[in-house]
């Protein structure tokens, strides 16, 4: 059986002259958690709305669990659980009533609905909130109800638009653990602004900017790329000639940052810090600072998005 649960091909959506999403293609397999990153207005939410049938694409194809969303929308939508940016809650209902309604809307038979509600509640930590009115719940609990709603019919595809917004740090950890758990049996797409979140829960990263896909990589590959790192060093008497440092094993390049500071770049597996310290003591340079530098996902994000912005400006 084909294990690709989400397949998106050349998806575009225009709003008048604005191309909110422009030729995006990607695939998500079972057991993957896809992190969807991008600045505000990049087209994340638009893409998610198209994936869940809330917006029709201008061009492109969406296949969910092998079912074409545009040709057989009802069957395809049955495979998706969706938490929009603002959780779609009826404030005047209690949590139990609301989840029972969601179970019925997703065609769970009446006799199994109660069990489904119980399961969704326990997965989202809502056991004690069943009888409370949704309107009286805190933002964090409302968010949990929103997630419970998305997974109540145990869909193969779960799409969460910024699921951890407005939660406290403990709740964020719990929701992340829940997402990781969901990722084992479902495909999850998760959009977020919080970059460490991607690094903790996602197995793949997509970065979208101005409607176009600028990065699509598994987190493993990305981490390997990020391994290309450096050391930041500062000396009291900086050496006039850095050839001795460049000769150290593993060092690939040296940048002078001024003020007696250097950035020493090295390969991912080399550890030149000890050798560098020894050299500095031998030569009497007066080492005052030595700290490892890693490229973070944030830097990658800023570079990609920034570059892209420049390109667009040049083109204009």
């Amino acid at each position: 059986m084909d294990d690709t649960l989400i397949r998106v091909e050349h998806l575009s959506r225009h709003f008048g002259a604005l191309r909110a999403v422009d030729g995006v293609s990607f695939e998500v397999r079972r057991g993957e958690v896809l992190g969807f990153l991008g600045p505000n207005g990049a087209g994340k939410s638009t893409t998610m709305q198209m994936l869940t049938g809330n917006l029709a694409p201008t061009t492109g194809r969406i296949t969910l669990n092998g079912i074409d969303l545009l040709e057989r929308p009802r069957a395809a939508k049955a495979c998706v659980g969706y938490l929009p940016e603002q959780p779609p809650l009826y404030r005047e209902l209690t949590v139990d009533e609301y989840l029972a309604l969601c179970a019925r809307l997703n065609r769970i038979p009446r006799r199994e609905a109660r069990a489904a509600v119980g399961r969704a509640k326990s997965r989202c930590g809502l056991e004690s909130a069943g009888g409370r009115l949704i309107g009286n719940l805190s933002k964090g609990y409302q968010q949990r109800v929103g997630i419970a709603q998305a997974i109540i019919h145990t869909p193969p595809v779960v799409i969460l638009d910024e699921p951890t917004v407005g939660l406290d740090p403990i709740q964020i950890r719990e929701i992340r653990a829940l997402i990781a758990e969901l990722g084992r049996e479902h495909s999850v797409i998760l959009s977020t602004h919080i970059l460490p979140e991607v690094q903790t829960v996602c197995s793949r990263v997509l970065i979208i900017d101005r409607g176009r896909l600028v990065l699509s990589e598994s987190l493993e590959d990305l981490n390997r790329g990020l391994g290309e790192t450096g050391l930041r060093v500062a000396f009291e008497q900086p050496p006039a000639d850095t050839a001795a440092i460049a000769a150290l094993p593993g060092v690939t390049s040296i940048q002078d940052l001024g003020d007696g500071r250097l950035r020493v770049c090295h390969g991912p597996d080399a550890e030149p810090a000890a050798a560098l310290a020894r050299l500095a003591v031998e030569r009497g340079w007066g080492l005052t600072e030595l700290s490892p530098e890693r490229r973070t996902l944030e830097q990658v994000f800023v570079e990609l998005v920034h570059q892209d912005g420049n390109r667009a400006e040049n083109a204009a």
Binding site: N54, A56, R74, L105
Partner: protein, 252 residues
């Protein structure tokens, strides 16, 4: 059936808000007042009616004016009930819950409409209970009453269809309510423009007027032309609502 799940949900939501209870109470109180006034009138006329050997009875003097007045009161009230049907869901972003669920747009619209009809049905039963209570002490022309109640039911269903459409047009419930009220009132008084002249336009305007078709049912004449008018009116606005919601998803 998904449509009935949605209808039950809609009815339940209506009764969770104080608005539905307030509407039921106020409408019932006002109509009861009018009903008692008509009975008072009947009591005064009764000796003279017997002398005149008039065919006009209890149904003509009490029940038919009650139903006529109920139509006017409900013209004011139904927009308040329909205004939130879709606009509220759009505002609260809950519409995407329904759209993401495996439902078609038609099911969503019909489900909501049936939920509201169920509520209006309850109101209709309460209104009908007043003239029917006269059976305890007098005789009623049940055929005439049934024709009148059928007319009121169709009229309310038409109000609801128009209100649903207006609610689909705007995310502001109050705008939906005002537009619904304006459109209904215009359709109600459309035949005024024609005056008494028997020209082609005035016949057309009379044909479009809600009031004319309701009045003929109130006289006890169940004409298929009137029934067709109401059915077409309801279908037209339901289809327009479905189209309106669909166009949100599509290219704009």
């Amino acid at each position: 059936m998904m449509v009935f799940t949605l209808a039950a949900h809609e009815l339940r939501r209506l009764f969770l808000s104080p608005l539905a209870w307030a509407v039921l109470a106020v409408v019932q109180f006002i109509l009861a007042w009018m009903f008692l006034a008509q009975i008072e009138l009947f009591m005064q006329w009764q000796p003279r009616l017997q002398q005149l050997d008039s065919p006009r009875g209890l149904t003509d003097i009490v029940a038919v004016p009650l139903l006529g007045n109920a139509a006017i009161v409900l013209l004011l009230v139904v927009p308040l009930l329909t205004m939130r049907l879709i606009s509220d869901e759009r505002r609260g972003q809950t519409l995407s819950l329904l759209i993401s669920a495996p439902l078609t747009m038609t099911e969503i619209v019909i489900g909501k409409y049936l939920g509201l009809l169920a509520f209006l049905g309850i109101m209709l039963v309460l209104i009908a209970a007043m003239p029917l209570s006269l059976l305890l002490g007098g005789g009623l022309d049940l055929g005439l009453l049934a024709a009148g109640l059928l007319g009121l039911a169709l009229l309310l269903a038409s109000f609801a269809a128009l209100g649903l459409f207006m609610s689909a047009l705007t995310p502001q419930p109050t705008v939906a309510a005002v537009s619904t009220f304006g459109a209904l009132l215009l359709l109600w008084i459309l035949d005024w423009a024609g005056g008494l002249a028997e020209s082609g336009e005035s016949a057309l305007l009379r044909g479009l007027s809600l009031l004319r078709h309701y009045e003929s049912l109130l006289t006890g004449a169940v004409d298929s032309r009137d029934l067709a008018y109401f059915v077409l009116f309801i279908l037209a606005f339901l289809v327009l609502s479905i189209r309106r919601l669909d166009s949100d998803r599509l290219q704009n």
